[in-house]
Amino acid sequence: MSERAISLPVKCLSCHEELSTPIVCDGCHTLYPVPQSADFFDLLSIGRTFHLDEGLLARAYRSIARQIHPDRFGGDSIEAGNLSTRLSAQVNQAFATLRDPVKRAAYILEIAGGPSAAEVREVPGALLGEVMMLREEIEQAQAKGDDAAIARHRGAIAKRRDETLEEIAGRADGLWEASDEDKKGFRVLLNSIKYFDNLLTELAVNPLAANQDH
């Protein structure tokens, strides 16, 4: 799975402590810029898998974020202050990406060399036509104040989103060895999530506010 050949710094250049994350030394708090080869999993020192332990991820994030926090480097050189600000932004982005299953799956696809949503725009089968039909049905239900129909749609769409995410979860860790065709198929699945999410957002809002600009 994580067989990529990467060379991350292993020891602190200042105090020679072992580094648990490539960007900060646990011992002397020396900061290092993010190495070119490091991905979000490396930044947070967490195994490169879709099925990560979310509690572990949150703890790793909090520990690193605390160590590199700009408040700690206020009295240091301007360079150290700037570096801590930059690293904090990168670590925050890494955490926001990895904690969310959909973003995590999209990120794994990206670092496995798969296509972006801009490159492969397809969705599974007749989904677009279905989404169009659902949107119109929801619009009518909202106009009539048919709460039962709205709840029914919400349940059905949430179920399909869950099923899609389950399929994504089942395939994500196979992406490292997947063929281009399989990576494309994974992107097609991921694309459908955004449509389900928009439907669910539409179903969650107050119908009176539904026609306002967004």
Partner: protein, 136 residues
């Protein structure tokens, strides 16, 4: 980011909203979506015997720019021939509506919808021709 006055105008008074009978032989339907934002757009055209677009309708669930792009597209292709409509470029929509770079994909969506609708009606015509020649 502020919408241009033309986007606001099309958003508040969209032209040609509605639907046509997707099963009719002279009606082409294109349904397209943008996976980045989850917008969906349906654009339909009705063509006469000489491949002129006599009517166009759309329904878009998306942001103001997506609605304005499809509204403008239906306005432009009405009365044109299929070949003229195929020449429509998304960049013309971008210019007319003064769309910012982050909204260019909305104009692409409208262009894709026009092309999908034309492809659909042409396919129907081909199928009808094949059936007619098989029957004779």
């Amino acid at each position: 980011m502020a919408y241009s006055s033309k986007v606001v105008d099309h958003y508040e008074n969209p032209r040609n909203v509605g639907s046509m009978d997707a099963d009719a032989k002279n009606v082409g339907t294109g349904i397209v979506g943008a996976p980045e934002c989850g917008d969906v757009m349906r654009l339909q055209i009705e063509v006469d015997e000489s491949d002129r677009i006599v009517d166009a309708k759309f329904k878009t669930f998306g942001c103001g720019s997506a609605i304005a792009s499809s509204s403008l597209a239906t306005e432009w292709i009405k009365g044109r021939t299929i070949d003229e409509a195929l020449a429509l470029k998304n960049t013309e929509i971008v210019t007319e509506l003064a769309l910012p770079p982050v909204k260019i994909h909305c104009s692409v969506l409208a262009e894709d919808a026009v092309r999908a609708a034309i492809a659909d009606v042409q396919q129907k015509k081909e199928a009808a021709k094949t059936t007619a020649s098989a029957a004779s």
